[in-house]
């Protein structure tokens, strides 16, 4: 019998929320009736612009903030009534990797171990394992104020793993990271998920959700406005897009007329055209041929992946807004 069974809870780690609401003093409704059901072993991406309610939802699910209405259960425990059990079951890496700059990586990991009830020797050996896992052995005894952004995020992730949690909450884990650090963190998250960890991650990047998430929820103004696999969400944008750049911008009008047979074309100026077509990438060869026959020289043709903005526009009818609306702490 494992520990979870002894405690009499469900053994599959899940995240469930029903009618979750959070109204801040002053009336700001940051989370407005969120329902969630994340299966054990799933990576769930929570997408939305700054101020949409992502962080407030994560703060409620991680017991840092009480909901003003609704219920949520994490790893089988109620986030309000069984907050302590929830904290034992989850690992949390919040936005901006809040780490004490005057401590070393090793000290922070050992402190985190002690906070989760590990004995000193256990805490030391666990810190050693995790430093190796996130490739920070060489930097282990340096103060945090000498770490790069990517190193801080890796340490933050390691700290969230100290007590081998079954559910991991990551709030914008790669915001501000360079592509190499981002890709290395994605790799680490995939391998954690392969080991059975359920991951709930918020992000502003559709690409991140596509790379990692089994399912994605889009939140806007505190409400979930769309949910599905990344592919399903991408399809909400409509037909796939192609971007065509001409060498001679004066041929734009002629090219537009010719390409209209392949789909709907819009002129983006300076010799650039957008084409929406059901064929997607398969339309590249016919359109290059069409333009070539008309002696219109093509500089570039690219498939345009739908961005978060595109999905947003499709499901909300407006563009993702600027930061600051949430007002959450």
């Amino acid at each position: 019998m494992n520990g979870a069974e002894k405690l009499g809870r469900r053994t599959d780690a899940t995240i469930e929320a029903e009618g979750l609401e959070r109204v801040y003093p002053g009336g700001l409704r940051a989370v407005d009736g969120v329902d969630l059901a994340v299966e054990a072993g799933e990576i769930y991406g929570f997408l939305g612009p700054n101020g949409a309610g992502k962080s407030t939802t994560v703060r409620i699910l991680t017991t840092l903030l009480r909901p003003t209405a609704g219920h949520a259960r994490v790893a089988g425990y109620d986030v309000v009534k069984q907050a302590s059990q929830v904290r034992r079951s989850i690992g949390v890496a919040l936005q901006e990797a809040a780490l004490d700059p005057l401590m070393t990586g090793r000290e922070l990991l050992q402190l985190q171990g002690a906070l989760h009830g590990l004995r000193r020797a256990e805490s030391r050996s666990r810190a050693e394992q995790l430093l190796e896992r996130v490739d920070l052995v060489d930097a282990a005894d340096r103060l945090l104020n000498t770490y790069s952004g990517g190193m801080r995020r890796r340490l933050d992730l390691a700290m969230a793993l100290v007590h081998r949690p079954s559910v991991l909450f990551l709030d914008e884990p790669t915001t501000g990271l360079d592509p190499v650090s981002r890709s290395s963190l994605w790799g680490e998250l995939r391998s954690l998920n392969d080991e059975g960890t359920t991951i709930f991650l918020t992000t502003q990047y559709l690409e991140e959700a596509e790379q990692l998430a089994d399912r994605v929820g889009i939140i806007d103004h505190g409400k979930i406005v769309a949910e599905g696999t990344p592919q399903e969400l991408g399809r909400l944008v409509g037909d796939p897009g192609l971007y065509v750049k001409l060498i001679d911008p004066s041929q734009s009008d002629r090219a537009r007329e010719l390409l209209a047979v392949h789909g709907s074309v819009s002129d983006r100026g300076e010799g650039c055209l957008s084409l929406r077509t059901v064929l997607g990438a398969r339309a590249i060869a016919p359109i290059v041929r069409t333009l070539d026959e008309a002696q219109i020289e093509v500089d570039a043709v690219e498939v345009e992946e739908p961005t978060l903005d595109d999905v947003f526009l499709a499901v909300t009818g407006h563009r993702a807004e600027e930061p600051g609306e949430d007002g959450s702490p």
């Binding site: 809040a98 004490d100 009830g117």
Partner: protein, 266 residues
């Protein structure tokens, strides 16, 4: 909860408190902005007071304590412990503003343990301050007739005083969560000192200050320290000093735990 589970829980919280105490000390020792006010500033003020106002010793009503430094050093210890308490509050506010506090709150840790770790760390700093300031006073000619026991009691009072100050600093930091507010409390430490017989005997304070000093618990702590160091009940009651210090610790720590609960609930 069974006895075994209770014992395990107590042991776990004990480990948490020790780890947080160690962290409080480590970070405090690495940050010059914490060390200077806690250790250097009181020493500078001790030097200024001892050299600039030592003539006060000739005033009628000033007790005979040998060197003036010996009399004033209890006030220096009080000043140091109050500043250490303020630094504890600043450290908590800085954790709150920087987000590290959320990390502590998202761990399965008793909220009171987070306060206690910080308070105990400050108590250790209070002990270090008392040892340093008393050594400096001895080096500059002070004589403590209370001997080892008197010095030990004074150091214990310093630890309690630092704990009480840390409890108050923590309560304000947890209630407000504002680093800038905590930094602006600096001058109030000196107000508290000057409405207590920190550097002069109570009889030489102005009538208004003397009246206020009666309700200031610091008065009893600083006089208790002198009573212990000089083995003189005329200078102050050690028992009253301990009662005032222990009462302040309980009150301020209770306030801090309440402020913590209020912060978590909001």
């Amino acid at each position: 909860m069974s006895t075994v589970a209770l014992e395990r829980d107590v042991a776990t919280q004990g480990r948490v408190i020790v780890a947080l105490t160690e962290r409080a000390l480590r970070v405090q020792m690495r940050r010059a902005q914490f060390l200077l006010p806690s250790f250097l500033l009181p020493l500078l003020l001790l030097a200024v007071i001892a050299s600039g106002t030592s003539a006060a010793q000739q005033l009628p009503g000033f007790p005979s304590t040998g060197s003036y430094v010996g009399f004033v050093v209890s006030g220096t210890i009080m000043q140091g412990t109050l500043l250490a308490g303020l630094m504890a509050g600043i450290a908590i506010a800085s954790d709150i503003e920087g987000g590290f506090f959320d990390r502590l709150l998202s761990a399965p840790v008793n909220r009171a343990s987070i306060v206690l770790g910080r308070v105990l760390g400050t108590a250790v700093i209070g002990i270090a301050q008392a040892v340093l300031f008393l050594s400096v006073a001895l080096a500059f000619g002070a004589d403590f007739p209370g001997g080892i026991v008197g010095v030990a009691l004074a150091i214990l009072l310093a630890a309690l005083s630092a704990s009480a100050a840390a409890g108050l600093g923590a309560a304000i930091a947890l209630r407000t969560g504002s680093l800038s507010l905590m930094q602006n409390l600096f001058p109030f430490v000196f107000v508290l000192l000057f409405i207590a017989p920190a550097f002069f005997p109570r009889e030489l304070l102005s009538p208004v200050l003397e009246t206020i000093s009666v309700v200031n618990p610091l008065s009893y702590v600083v006089e208790g320290m002198r009573g212990a160091l000089f083995d003189s009940s005329a200078l102050g009651s050690v028992a009253l000093g301990f009662a005032a210090a222990a009462g302040s610790v309980l009150l301020t720590c209770a306030l801090a735990v309440w402020a913590m609960r209020a912060r978590v609930r909001s």
